[in-house]
Symmetry: C3
Subunit: 264 residues, 3 copies
């Protein structure tokens, strides 16, 4: 479906797309049918913007006065894969090697590091910070101003919430997820809570207080079960599961993860 230029270094902009002449597109960028790329957008070399995506969407002030609206830049690095029906706001900054699923929304002011992956239907609110090589699975909700450090995992339907007594203005603060932590599917992390370095949150848990580093918590409300290093694969083998980077290396560039034999 996508028009192919005969010179591989040329950009391949589908004729049905709507790309502002003021947008900055790098070499070899491929833009699919019906994608919209606004003037405030820059996209690095070798990136894909698939069909029906909307890049550089306006913030709320646009609707108050479209003519006076001056959108913040939306900067996307090299080798991005932005799948169909995705919405990236103005004021979003994303480093290289980004990849996301379909129907994702990322709001203004959010900063995303290198090599991050965000799953289908995830919803990242404004001014979140997501560190290098972090992975969010499908339909993850990230509240405004959450801090998600590098090399963490948030599994499907995880929720980071920011308001302990909603609705309020004065109490809100997003959670912090420290490096190497893993949060299981459908778990919720309360406002201002910190999930420690290498900690593990079991699926369908409700975490209302800080989790110490390298510990496993489970339940509603979540309670400490013990060190995450004690978890073994129950499917017939007894290998320790955490830290996960000892055995799970798929998709990380060389040098990003610690040596498998390193201490946690």
């Amino acid at each position: 479906m996508i028009a192919r230029a005969t010179v591989s270094s040329a950009r391949q902009i589908h004729p049905t797309s709507t790309v502002s002449p003021d947008a900055e597109l790098g070499r070899d960028v491929i833009v699919g049918p019906y994608a919209v790329i606004h003037a405030n957008v820059s996209i690095g070399d070798g990136s894909f913007v698939d069909s029906h995506a909307l890049i550089g969407a306006p913030t709320a002030d646009y609707y108050a006065d479209p003519q006076a609206h001056e959108p913040a830049p939306c900067r996307i690095g090299k080798h991005a894969i932005i799948r169909s029906h995705v919405v990236l706001y103005s004021g979003v900054t994303i480093e290289d090697d980004f990849e996301c699923g379909h129907h994702v929304t990322i709001r203004e002011g959010t900063r995303i590091g290198n090599g991050v992956r965000i799953g289908t239907s995830s919803d990242v609110q404004r001014e979140a910070a997501i560190g290098d090589y972090t992975r969010l699975h499908s339909n993850v909700f990230v509240a405004a101003r959450s801090v998600i450090e590098e090399l963490t995992w948030l599994f499907p339907h995880v929720m980071l919430v920011d308001d302990p007594h909603p609705p309020s203005d004065t109490c809100t603060q997003g959670p912090t997820i420290r490096k190497f932590a893993s949060v299981g599917a459908a778990s919720m992390i309360y406002p201002a809570v910190e999930i420690g370095h290498g900690a593990v949150v079991g699926a369908m848990s409700l975490v209302r207080s800080d989790v110490p580093p390298d510990m496993l918590v489970v339940g509603i409300p979540a309670k400490v079960v013990g060190p995450s290093a004690d978890v073994v694969c129950r499917e017939g083998r007894l290998d320790p599961v955490y830290p996960w980077w000892r055995h799970f290396r798929r998709g990380y560039p060389a040098g990003v993860l610690p040596d498998p034999s390193a201490d946690a």
Copy 2:
């Protein structure tokens, strides 16, 4: 990206959109790229229909016989903000000052009051009633025939369900959420359950029986903790949090909320 007419009172219909000549669009309506607006649609003055939206989507009978299908009207008031990739069905009625996020779906027969906001990826099933100035956050699921009164709050991933013994036809009845109530993130309200006036449901709760007015419930299943007026902000101050309208006024027009010093 959006074509700007030189006369500000003109409509601004993006040339790539597909707008039926029989649709009724008010003054200053702005329609984005690749939006589809069917013949049965009317949209009030000063409204926005953003890119990739589908307004006036057909109900199931269309697929049985497209030629015989006679769509019900889809009526949207003034100053609506309908963001990208939203689907509004025929037979939907929405009053003025509506605002919604991306990827929202609203099914036929649903009636929505003035000043309502519905968050990204929310899914409102058929024949729901949503009162004035109510706010649904991201990814809220509203079962068919739910009743959500004015000035209520449903936080991210809240679910209102309508079938106590699914699948069935004879037992189904949506919940009722009374005025000023607040339902915390990822909580589920059972069929036919009533959340009382000013009541508060804590996050990740499962509410299987009625909640009295002005009470706080929490848990799976949810139990009464005490009066919502006893909740204080735990972040260092001891101000009462509920009723929320005493301290949270952002975005409401003058006169909509009670005076902050009024009784609950």
Copy 3:
């Protein structure tokens, strides 16, 4: 909005859509505005592909080398209803009478039987198997390689997960849902767990071990309450609710469900 051919047996391809000349479309297929249908797609007679859908989306290898990418076939049977903003990958196989909501994603290698319905925003990962006449409601998450047998029900926000100790590569296995089973809203089924024939999972449950046939389980973690045949409609009548096919017959063709008077 959709162009109507005067001869009813003609295809009706909206002029704004992007349909590959190599795609195979059956008789009377109707394609809406801004739909994308790739070359590897075949769609049976009498099917609908609504606006902004993407059919035959490429798998990950496409992004590594678009020119070398050879997409697997995406085969869709007769009388399909594929609603707006849906994404079906290459390598998906779907039999006749399929129907799905909006914003659905179905990944490569998934096989879907006859008469299946999948609700709005559901996300079916790769290589899942979904049997005839099974129904998934809104926003269901189906992990890779899950097995969902014929005539089952998964209600809104159900999650089937595949990794007991995420992230891992070696332990992953999807759940199995046996014929006539019903899984309540927002429940999660753990990896490798089997929900038995005719079993019922209550809403907001976490199922970590196998559920015997025709039993009801509820809770976090889920525990056996008793035979599903003992459940009665609590709304004033005392009729048994399960097996559901004794009283709920809506939408099934004649002969698909057992006779209402048959043994479970």
